[in-house]
Every structure is written in structure tokens, then in C-alpha cells.
Symmetry: C2
Subunit: 341 residues, 2 copies
């Protein structure tokens, strides 16, 4: 066995290359937010699986109910980015014995709440015995191929826009990891962005219906990474005019002597959408979706992302949140021990 | 937190009750082998998730490639029991760092092999960092509601039949756990039933097309459990005329002073189908599917399963293979340590 550990993206690259060469090609690449199966000429089955692990995805201070809800939000967010309504969910659970009824009920609360929020039904699932909390949330939906938003497709001249500000979850995560209660009270919005994330489903559906969106991705791997994915898969450059830092993250960053723009660019588990919109359609769309923020534009190029900041141009690295690389695991038992409070 | 640990079935009971009361009812109960979403009057989307955990589902002596293949077989087996062709698969992986390319390639080998065997495509997936190997295999397919086989539906007079003999995996598992190489060589068929299980997909599709099957379930939780599920959900009794013990399991049981019938009834992870067939159709169907073995009949009743053995009637308990209850976990590291051989 080699000692060189692969990162999540390298693992995915090996797997998808192996899958792709062993079967006929699919209408949507393995690189996109969801998987599709062509059901008929004008109907695709859309599928997505997103697996949450207690020790890497659930920071201290987050309840089991919140973790279960988050597992659904992560999957729904990928549907939002494609402009597709998720219709049904399957839930696979790995639980550590002994499992009491309260644990099961808290998980059911979180799953039911999220299913109601995003108007989808829980159809079934599986459970098993695991060392750590595992929640795999699988979503399915139906899409018209013409309407579905893809990561590729951005064109020079397009406006790059996002559905909200960034940096909140990176800051909130730091507060939770520091277990500083005063900070958590003062910056409750930042903490809430981690414990109660929102998928932009309604916005994603509107964006898809507009017919003006050329490219779309969710930002769960971080804003910088998402921009690079659009640039790489669309074979264009992206020029950022401003970095949409959340005001609360700005205040927190100043207090903690952190780079606010870094929090916004290289955080992750932030479920905003990042989209490329036809230039002439942007201002109309902005009227219908006020949360849209213009952050830059698409230029001809070969996949670079740059920002014009204080009169100088600098490159934005393709870094982002990544399992196996980005963070050391949280303690495994906080979900159970914190439950007594 | 309570100290009374729930078993897998109690956990599922709580969850499904919670899901069922919070949303409109589904055309197929949570109790069945797969989940369905009504797509149109004559088309259902069929979905299934089955999660494999290294330390409870992968015994020592089983390779990573075999484990990956088995994860697919477990999901395909549920489609087989419903008579539905799985079309696409999603794979969610939890891996323990450091992960080398060889590990990823072995998993890809197993997944690709199984996808080819059962003629379905791998559409996508997810990966994450986990303490233990986790492979969640999600299958999707399409079914005609009228054709789909359910667990409920067995009627008095029906023949109870299975697609093969039982007891091999319970015996093979004992051999693997004992790490006895001589035994493993002598009883290679038993070991192979664990390391290279087969889903009865072709048989399941034929059974569904016949129109003569009233009820069907796979036997992954054990023969006794499967019979009880048919009896409970169909509200009938089942009278067994013989217990279909595999000859190799019989020999092994004699040598080890074990009850061969117990191995056959209360084993598990055995992927045969257990079906109730219209009495007048059985002999015709047997000609087309020679592997079918008649083991008993359905009688009016309230969900009991009995066997007539040596002139005496005895009850068969609703026991079966169950996570959290049935077995102590295997060592967590054998998948990596055994990889050197």
C-alpha cells in the first residue's frame, strides 16, 4: 500500500475515468452537480447522492436534528443549481450502537423538516451499523434537457452572479470549533449559516425558467472552486469585479485578524448558487430575483479566474473545501455527548 | 441517553412511522424491498439504496474488489425480487485516509464488474472521509405497476418456491471467520457464496413476466425472515414442506455438529428469491426456470410460518440477520492488511 494519500478530487478523477471508459457516454458528465439518465428525448431522470459523515461534516455545537436536515439541504442544493425540483428522497443511515429512540426521533425530525421545506417526499432508505454517524441523502427528480442548467455553457460577455454573500460558513465554523459561547452569541448569524444552511431551490427553479442562465453550480466546495469549475468546463476565463463578502463575516474577520476575502473565496459548505447569465437579461432577472449579486463577467480564455482588486489583477487559485485534505476530523462523540444539554 | 439499544428493524419501524405520518401515502409501503415514486399511471420510478459497511458486511478473506461488487449485488437483488431491471447506479463511498490509487482501482474494478454483470450503468456518486469502508449503492429503474412483484399478495393455495438452496453463506461466513485455510479450500463453494454472491436478476425478470407470481422478496435477511415478511404482509400462513438446505452446507454442518436447517433458515446475505406462485402455474414455470424449488404452500391464516418435519408441525421463528443485533463487528483493518497477499 502506498503512503501517498489521494485527495477527494483525485479519487473522484480515478473513479470517473474508470466508469467513463467502461460504458457508453452519458448526456451529462460525471463532473456536474447531479447525474442524469436519459428517460426519453424530452425527459431526464436526475439523481444525486451526498453523504454526510459525523466527524467531517458535523462540527461541535450542531445537533443531530440539524445534521440530518443539513444532509438533505446538501442534496437539494445540487438540484437547485440545476434548476430541477427534487421529488423524492432516499435516506441511508449509519448509526453507532447503542441507538436509543431519541436519536432516531431527532434524525427523523431533521429529515422531515427538510423534506417539507423543499417539498419533496421521503420514499425509503436503509440503515446499518457504523462507527460514526453516516447520512447518505439521495435525491431524484425529472428535468427537461433543454431547461436544465449545467456547469459548462458560460460564454464571453455573460454576467457572473451569485445568490447571496459568502464567508459566513467559514467564519461560523471557526466559532463553533473554538467553542467560544460569547462569540457564538455575538455572531449568531454566522453560526446559523453552518447549523441551519439553506438551499436556494426556489431561486434555482426561477433561474432555470428564465432561459437566461448559461451555466450554474452550487458553491458547496467554496466560491473559488465553483468559479474555476465554470471556467474549466465552459473553457472561458472569469474576471471578478468584487468578492461578495458577507458583512458579518467582514466584521468577524477584522476582529480575528483574518482575511475576509479568503473566508469568502475558500470556505465551503455554503449553499449559494454561482451562475453565468446572458448580459442583456441580467437587469430584468435581478428585478425578479433581488438576491442576485453581480460579481464579475466571463471573458474568452482557457479556464482562469482573476480578480481586479485595488487596481491590480491577481489570480484566484482553484482551492476549495475537500474531504481528506481540507480539515482534521472533529471529535467523533460530540453528537452524543452534547445531546445532554 | 437510554442504554437500551434498538435493533435495525426497530429503528426502521420508528423512522418509517415518522415518515409515513408526515406525508401522503405511497403506492408501495416502506416495508417492501424497494421504494417507488408514481411517475405516471403506468410507470413507476423504482429506487433502492443499500449501504455496505466494512466492519459488519465484509468478513475477513474478502477483497476490496469483492466488497465493492457485493455492494452492487445487494442492491440489484432487491430489483430482482421486484422483477425490475435496474438501469442506473449511484455509488457513495466512505474511505479511510490515506487512500492510495490501488484501493480506488480495486473498488472501481468491483463496481464495474457488477454493473456489467447486471447490465446497468454507473451514473455518478459521492466520496467522503470515513473511519471504515462505506459503500452505498443506489439503484434506479422503471416499472409497470401491474407487473411489479410485491411482498404482499400471497394467497391461500399458492406454492411457495425459492430460486436456489440455502445455508451456504451462513456456513461460508463461519469458515471465513475461523480463518481456517484447509476448510476454506475444502468448502470453496461455501466461501464463494459469501465472497462472490449472485443476484437472481434474470430469474426475477422472468418471474415478473410470467404473471403467475403473487408475492416476492429477496432473502438477504434470511429465509425464515423472508417467509415471515410474505406471511405478515399478505396476511396468510405459510406451511413449509421442506427446508431447502444446500448439500455443501449439509456436509459442513454434519462435520461441525451444527444444525443444517438452522444454517438455511436463519443465515442471511443470501440473495435467492422467495416467491408465492399461483398453484396451477407452478409446473409450467418450473419448466422455464429449472432452478425453482417448491418448498411449501400458502394457507389462510394470520402470519404464521410452520414446518412439517418428521411428521410433526413446528413454528419457525421470525428471526433473521439484523444489523446492530446479529453479529459482532469484524476487525476494521483486515481489508487493508489482507491486501498485501
Amino acid at each position: 500500500m502506498t503512503n501517498t494519500g489521494l485527495g477527494e478530487r483525485q479519487i473522484i478523477r480515478i473513479l470517473t475515468r474508470r466508469f467513463a471508459t467502461s460504458q457508453p457516454s452519458l448526456p451529462l458528465g460525471f463532473d456536474d452537480d447531479v447525474a442524469v439518465f436519459p428517460f426519453s428525448r424530452n425527459r431526464w431522470i436526475v439523481l444525486k447522492t451526498d453523504m454526510l459523515f459525523g466527524h467531517t461534516d458535523v462540527p461541535p455545537g450542531m445537533s443531530l436534528e440539524q445534521a440530518a436536515r443539513k444532509a438533505v439541504v446538501a442534496t437539494v442544493s445540487d438540484f437547485a443549481a440545476k434548476g430541477v425540483q427534487p421529488l423524492g428522497l432516499l435516506i441511508s443511515l449509519g448509526l453507532t450502537p447503542p441507538v436509543g429512540p431519541r436519536i432516531v426521533n431527532e434524525i427523523a425530525n431533521g429529515l422531515n423538516r427538510a423534506a417539507r421545506e423543499y417539498d419533496c417526499r421521503i420514499l425509503g432508505g436503509d440503515t446499518g451499523e457504523s462507527d460514526d454517524l453516516v447520512i447518505d441523502c439521495i435525491g431524484f427528480g425529472l428535468a427537461e434537457p433543454k431547461r436544465m442548467l449545467r456547469r459548462s455553457g458560460a460564454r464571453p460577455g455573460d454576467v457572473i452572479a451569485v445568490t447571496g454573500t459568502f464567508g459566513k460558513t467559514a467564519a461560523g465554523l471557526r466559532i463553533l470549533l473554538a467553542k467560544n459561547k460569547a462569540s457564538a452569541m455575538r455572531f449568531s448569524k454566522l453560526v446559523e449559516s453552518v447549523t441551519h444552511p439553506m438551499a436556494r431551490l426556489e431561486t434555482g427553479l426561477k433561474l432555470a425558467r428564465s432561459g437566461a442562465v448559461h451555466s450554474s453550480i452550487d458553491s458547496s466546495d467554496g466560491l473559488a472552486w465553483s468559479l474555476h469549475e465554470i471556467a474549466r468546463l465552459s473553457r472561458v476565463d472569469i474576471l471578478l469585479e468584487n468578492i461578495p463578502v458577507a458583512p458579518e463575516a467582514e466584521v468577524f474577520a477584522r476582529r480575528e485578524s483574518l482575511g475576509a476575502e479568503d473566508l469568502a473565496l475558500y470556505g465551503g459548505e455554503e449553499y449559494e448558487l454561482v451562475v453565468a447569465i446572458r448580459r442583456d437579461a441580467f437587469s430584468d432577472l435581478k428585478k425578479r430575483i433581488p438576491s442576485l449579486i453581480r460579481i464579475g463577467r466571463v471573458e474568452a480564455g482557457r479556464g482562469e479566474v482573476r480578480v481586479l482588486s485595488r487596481g491590480r489583477m491577481r489570480s484566484i487559485e482553484p482551492r476549495g473545501w475537500e474531504h481528506m485534505v481540507s480539515m482534521s476530523p472533529y471529535s467523533r462523540n460530540h453528537l452524543l455527548s452534547s445531546r445532554a444539554h
